[in-house]
């Protein structure tokens, strides 16, 4: 295990090369590459703002003071931008090994570096969403706090990529053997998007009388709920309604680490069969 981690570390240059290659291919296809990748989340944000904010009044649980700090629009953007990255990870995870089959079957490197490179590329793309997010913060009058920037932001980013890497390791290896995984992931990604309270404050579910108690617990066990609440807590840290509760916080930390452990264990377990199938 430790020697394996060392081997991956020794091949960090290869990871860097693969990440740079993917970014190069992605952004050189069109001059407006970066603008295009940002346009989709922006359009989505506006659509969701109209449907959830204006039509369905999903912002009614937002505290009044929070409305002055960027309001529901900043709330949406701060969740949708990291979700774009996470959705992209989920989307590409099943193919992380298959797309590199030629390299994997000719080059002797620790196989983990291919999922790591896929997630690494997404991390860089996530960093590239920040200028857009900061524009929103600036124009909507968002106020970052020390608590948000020093606690919630690093925690959210680390956990998001920990769980992202775990899922990529898990899905990329299983998908080589059972190709149905890709389709399943597409459905799961939809469910998780709506289930992780990206478009509405989680309180709307937790305070609702129509939702049974067991479902509320299950809802909070989803590690993504806590992670995305943290992403928004960066801008709304003072409000108890908008920061993750104890269950959500615990399941975000424990759940993400658990997914990484399970993902890596599965990856190593299936490695021999995966190499034969590629």
């Amino acid at each position: 295990m430790a020697s394996r981690a060392l081997a991956v570390w020794e091949h960090r240059k290869v990871v860097g090369l693969l990440v740079r290659r993917d970014l190069k291919v992605k952004y050189q296809q069109s001059i407006l590459g970066y603008a295009w990748t940002m346009l989709e989340p922006l359009a989505l944000t506006l659509v969701y703002f109209f449907v959830f904010g204006v039509v369905l009044n999903a912002d009614r649980d937002m505290p009044a003071e929070a409305m002055a700090q960027g309001g529901f629009l900043l709330f949406l953007v701060a969740g949708i931008l990291p979700w774009t990255t996470f959705g992209a990870i989920l989307n590409e995870a099943p193919r992380a090994m298959i797309t590199h089959s030629k390299l994997i079957t000719t080059m002797k490197v620790p196989r983990e570096i291919f999922p790591i490179a896929t997630v690494g590329t997404k991390f860089v793309e996530y960093l590239l969403t920040w200028p857009v997010l900061l524009l929103f913060v600036f124009f909507l009058g968002g106020r970052p706090s020390w608590e948000g920037v020093l606690l919630w932001l690093p925690l959210a980013v680390v956990l998001q990529f920990v769980i992202g890497l775990g899922l990529t390791l898990l899905l990329s290896s299983i998908n080589v053997l059972v190709r149905d995984v890709e389709r399943l992931v597409r459905i799961a990604s939809r469910i998780l998007f709506y289930g992780s309270a990206i478009l509405y404050p989680a309180l709307m579910v937790l305070d609702s009388d129509q939702v049974p108690e067991w479902l509320k617990t299950a809802y909070q066990i989803n590690p993504l709920l806590g992670i995305f609440e943290m992403h928004r807590a960066v801008w709304f840290s003072g409000f108890e309604e908008l920061t993750p509760g104890p269950i959500a916080l615990t399941s975000a930390v424990v759940g993400s680490l658990l997914v990484l452990v399970i993902g890596y264990w599965t990856f190593r377990r299936l490695e021999m069969s995966v190499l034969k199938e590629l």
Partner: protein, 287 residues
């Protein structure tokens, strides 16, 4: 525990050492079960599943010393390429182990790693770096690589997807043959390219061999094998049948092939005789 070990040190011992190598493939429906098994039973094997396994290679042991050039001969589908992949470390053995001391230059799939959307130049730097070359080394050899690959300067900055398959393979060979790794694994790549390029490849390989490097070559071309190799491994039915000089290995292989052809002819003749005996009725059924 089956494993592949790589050490960087170059001792006096064998460069490649295989002990009881075996690889198992699942046949038909077993694949699904093996997935489930891994989660539920761990590494313990299901005793009922023994009949569904297929061993393309089993119980293969040999040692290859530094500077040797070993040819692997055998029929299609007897595990030659599998053996090469095991040595390259891109396939893990189910049984036994293989130790390789030194870095390996794999001439297995020459286009491997080329990205269609990047230019020839970008691909050379990408794949070269993936195989452990430094940027400086590539800078120094870039012109040589392009010249060897016979790529016209105007094409080097166009995306590789516009290259012909021959151009890609030439570029791949030109690049990988620049690697200074002490071990080379070659899988029938000599069969590609036109005559002039083939000759250049031969010369490049001979130059590399002169440098005390070790080569393992899988090929069906007897000329290639005789030209480069001094030792031959004859693989038959997934096992190592012979480990001698290349002439003896080829002779044994040819003898077995001849015997097989003779057997097939005999069987055909017998079938024909039977058919003739039963008359036209049978022929009508066959059609």
């Amino acid at each position: 525990m089956a494993q592949t070990d790589y050490g960087a040190e170059l001792g006096s011992g064998p460069v490649i050492e295989a002990k009881g190598l075996g690889v198992k493939f699942a046949v038909n429906r077993r694949r699904k079960r093996s997935l489930r098994e891994m989660f539920i039973h761990g590494t313990k094997r299901d005793p009922n599943a023994a009949g569904d396994e297929f061993w393309p290679l089993r119980d293969v042991s040999f040692e290859i010393a530094r500077g040797e050039c070993v040819g692997i001969v055998g029929k299609n589908g007897t595990g030659k390429s599998t053996l090469l992949k095991l040595i390259a470390g891109v396939l893990l053995p189910d049984e036994g182990e293989v130790q390789v001391r030194g870095k390996v230059a794999p001439l297995l799939e020459l286009r491997a790693g080329f990205n269609d959307n990047l230019t020839g130049r970008e691909n050379v730097y990408l794949v070269g770096s993936l195989h452990g070359m430094t940027e400086k080394q590539i800078d120094e050899r870039f012109d040589e690589i392009i010249e060897f690959a016979e790529i016209q300067p105007k094409f080097i900055d166009t995306p590789v997807r516009h290259y012909s398959s021959g151009m890609k393979v030439r570029l791949g060979f030109a690049l990988i043959s620049q690697l200074e790794h002490p071990i080379m694994l070659v899988d029938e790549v000599l069969a590609v390219g036109d005559k002039a390029f083939k000759r250049k490849c031969y010369e490049a390989i001979e130059r590399m061999l002169a440098n005390q490097r070790t080569m393992v070559l899988v090929s069906h071309n007897e000329g290639d094998l005789r030209r480069f190799c001094d030792r031959g491994l004859y693989i038959r039915d997934g096992g190592l049948a012979l480990d001698t000089d290349i002439e003896a290995a080829l002779a044994a292989y040819n003898e077995d092939t001849k015997a097989e052809i003779a057997k097939r002819k005999k069987a055909e003749a017998a079938k024909k005789a039977k058919k003739d005996g039963t008359g036209g009725k049978d022929g009508g059924q066959a059609a």
